[in-house]
């Protein structure tokens, strides 16, 4: 069985069943015996999540992870900014298809409201299928 509507994902599944989804986002089909389930998504859709780990962060620093090209918060936005309660911060972020600019991130870490004060720290990173760890080297200001 083939899909007849635009899809965002194509899945390969072992079970042979067909399910037709009527939403505009996903329409999946399971072929009996072949275990194939395909979902088609838009090129701009997330293809999964990756954990971005910030290490060596000064406790109390505010961090912000944003799309480098636009300055917009990375998705999901609720995860992309906050105040470090510990030196290591695990941030689950949406990952996109290879080549998507949304994978290229700018990471800002700032602590200048209470002593000890630190110079603003910025770095960049690119998401992939693998977890990513970034060492934050803040310097006292």
């Amino acid at each position: 069985m083939t899909t007849s509507f635009p899809v965002k994902q194509r899945l390969m599944m072992s079970r042979m069943f067909t399910r037709i989804l009527t939403t505009e986002a996903v329409k999946s089909a399971f072929m009996c015996g072949l275990g194939q389930h395909s979902i088609e998504k838009l090129p701009t859709d997330s293809v999964g999540t990756t954990v971005l780990t910030l290490t060596n962060v000064v406790v109390g620093s505010r961090y912000r992870v944003e799309v480098a090209s636009t300055g917009a918060l990375a998705e999901p936005t609720a995860n992309a900014t906050g105040v470090a309660a510990a030196p290591t911060i695990d941030i689950s972020l949406s990952r996109y298809a290879v080549g998507n600019a949304n994978n290229d991130l700018r990471i800002k870490v700032r602590k200048a409201s209470s002593a000890p004060l630190y110079q603003p720290y910025e770095t960049q990173a690119s998401l992939s299928g693998d977890a990513l760890s970034v060492y934050i080297a803040q310097q006292e200001d």
Binding site: S61, R62, R64, E66, G71, L73, T81, K108, R110, K111, A112, S113, L117, Q119, P120, E122, D141
Partner: protein, 564 residues
């Protein structure tokens, strides 16, 4: 008020001061470090508040290299008004195309500081504002540490340094000491300028009074040859001041008046407030055209005001006050702004020391002149010191005056001549070298050396054939040839024989006042013979006495005893 309320950060990254004005209650002033801290404090906020549009979503606004050097980055910027409320270091922005450098003045509280930048006084002297609640001028003072002013000033704009970031800070307050400190290119951080601001004990006359002393004039603006030390060889100066009827200290006060803050006077084509004197002596060659005696000049890399040139058509030296840029260097062309004349620098450029005020230092009764300053010789005493354009100290001669007092005008004839050491007139002070027998004799040559304390002009008594000493005015003498130049006289009859006697009659006249004087250049004490006679309608006995002309002058009061 706080820095947060005094400044706002606009959406376009313009950081502007919105607090109270200078001198008003609540006017805020912050160090550049405090400014940086405030920006960074906002930059780590989750969201913007109030009129400060800065939080973690915005680009980093500032970077600190040292506590005194702050760079605004990513387009954040201040304007000149905001800069007036910052101190304690430098602010760089626009990638270094705009720089405000820190200045700190070390002076007594209340000093009024002027700044000359790029050849002109900065008219917006905000740093002299009186802070609210204070009674003295000076923003951000630290009186405990002798700092009268702390502020920042723009020294670079549009990617170009303003006159090489050179600044002249000066104090020119009436009644106070004048001072100056030149910064030959500000550095990042705090540039310190020590100035003096204290009562000038030799400048106590009200300015309104000194304003009327217009008889103090510069007779020669430009190269002037004067024989100040009376050695028959002229020295060169760049002025010839006439102090008129004023004392030497009053001359000093008048000079301060001409160059004080707010003056409208002009010296050598410059406003008095900008006039400093000679900063450089330049050896030149290859002239073309005719220079003015003084004029604006320029060369590649600088401008100046020429104050003197030793020849307007064939100069070998000129003296200038540097206005902008740097002094000229070897082989550069100097061009006259008015004359269009040119010459080339011939290797040597000598920087000269300035005095503040420009005339030099007053002791109250004498002047220690500034480099190159010339004053009429008649206005100087042996206590004054001048420095000619070769920077040689020149000391005026000790001109001493002998005064005869107690005379009756129109009745007493007074004769003052050399004493022979025995209380009598030395009428053979000289002997003639050659007879005087011509009809129009103007030269009298003597055998003896003419003393160095002989007045430049006066009268000579010469023994004639009939035994009388005739009186002859002389206008000059030549010590080398032992020759007096006398008013033309007919010696064809009653001539004066070779070897006959002559003497200088220092005072030789019918009194026209109650006193009679003569002045001479002191060399050593001179013994004088004084004779007064009045054989007229109310005759008096002859008065004769010896007297001494010393290093401080001399005097005698004649007696008038009736001979009726």
């Amino acid at each position: 008020m706080t820095i947060a309320t005094d400044f706002e950060i606009q959406a376009d990254k313009d950081i502007r001061y919105v607090g109270a004005a200078h001198g008003a209650s609540g006017a805020g002033y912050y160090t550049v470090l405090e400014f940086h801290r405030w920006l960074q404090d906002l930059a780590d906020d989750s969201g913007s508040t109030g009129d400060d549009l800065l939080d973690i979503s915005k680009a980093t606004p500032s970077d600190k290299q040292f506590d005194t050097i702050i760079t605004l980055v990513n387009g954040y910027n201040i304007d000149d008004t905001a800069a007036e409320h910052l101190y304690g270091g430098s602010i760089l922005q626009a990638g270094g195309d705009v720089i405000y450098d820190g200045l700190q003045v070390i002076a007594n509280a209340g000093a009024h500081v002027e700044i000359v930048q790029n050849g002109a006084l900065i008219t917006n002297d905000f740093w002299n504002s009186i802070p609210f609640g204070s009674s003295t001028k000076g923003l951000n003072p630290d009186t405990a540490n002798g700092r009268s002013h702390r502020f920042i000033l723009k020294v670079r704009t549009g990617g170009a340094d303003i006159d090489g970031r050179r600044l002249i800070l000066q104090t020119r307050e009436w009644g106070k000491t004048f001072s100056e400190f030149k910064i030959n290119g500000t550095d990042r951080g705090i540039n310190v300028a020590p100035l003096t601001y204290a009562d000038d004990l030799n400048n106590t006359t009200a300015s309104g009074t000194v304003a009327t002393w217009t008889d103090v004039t510069n007779v020669t603006e430009g190269y002037a040859l004067l024989d100040v030390n009376a050695d028959t060889t002229d020295e060169a100066y760049y002025s010839e001041w006439d102090r008129g009827s004023r004392s030497i200290n009053q001359f000093y006060e008048r000079a301060k008046y001409l160059t004080r803050r707010g003056t409208s006077e002009t010296l050598y084509g410059l406003n008095g407030e900008l006039f400093r004197g000679i900063t450089h002596e330049v050896t030149v060659d290859t002239p073309s055209g005719t220079f003015s005696a003084f004029e604006a000049i320029s060369w590649s890399g600088g401008t100046g005001q020429m104050l003197a040139i030793n020849s307007t058509t064939a100069p070998t030296k000129l003296w200038l006050q540097l206005l902008t840029g740097v002094a000229p260097t070897d082989n550069q062309t100097i061009t006259g702004g008015t004359s269009g004349a040119t010459c080339l620098v011939n290797v040597t450029v000598t920087e000269r020391t300035l005095s503040f005020p420009f005339v030099g230092i007053s002791t109250g009764s004498a002047l220690i002149g500034a480099y190159g300053l010339g004053i009429e010789t008649a206005d100087l005493s042996v206590s004054d010191k001048l420095f000619d354009l070769t920077n040689t100290q020149i000391t005026p001669p000790n001109l001493v005056t002998f005064t005869v007092l107690g005379l009756v005008s129109g009745e007493d004839y007074i004769l003052v001549g050399p004493d022979d050491g025995a209380g009598a007139l030395d009428d053979a002070q000289f002997t003639l070298n050659g007879a005087l027998s011509g009809g129009t004799v103007t030269s009298v040559v003597v055998n003896e050396a003419i003393p160095s304390d002989t007045p430049a002009s006066g009268t000579l008594r010469i023994l004639r054939a009939n035994g009388a000493y005739s009186r002859h005015p002389y206008s000059a003498y030549n010590a080398g040839t032992k020759t007096f130049t006398i008013t033309s006289h007919d010696f064809s009859s009653n001539n004066a024989a070779n070897g006959t006697s002559a003497y200088i009659s220092y005072i030789d006249k019918l009194a026209d006042a109650s006193t009679a004087t003569f002045q001479s250049q002191y060399a050593s004490d001179r013994a004088l013979f004084v004779r007064r006679r009045d054989g007229g309608a109310s005759p008096t006995k002859t008065f004769e006495s010896s007297a001494t002309l010393g290093s401080a002058g001399g005097s005698i009061t004649v007696q008038r005893l009736s001979d009726a």
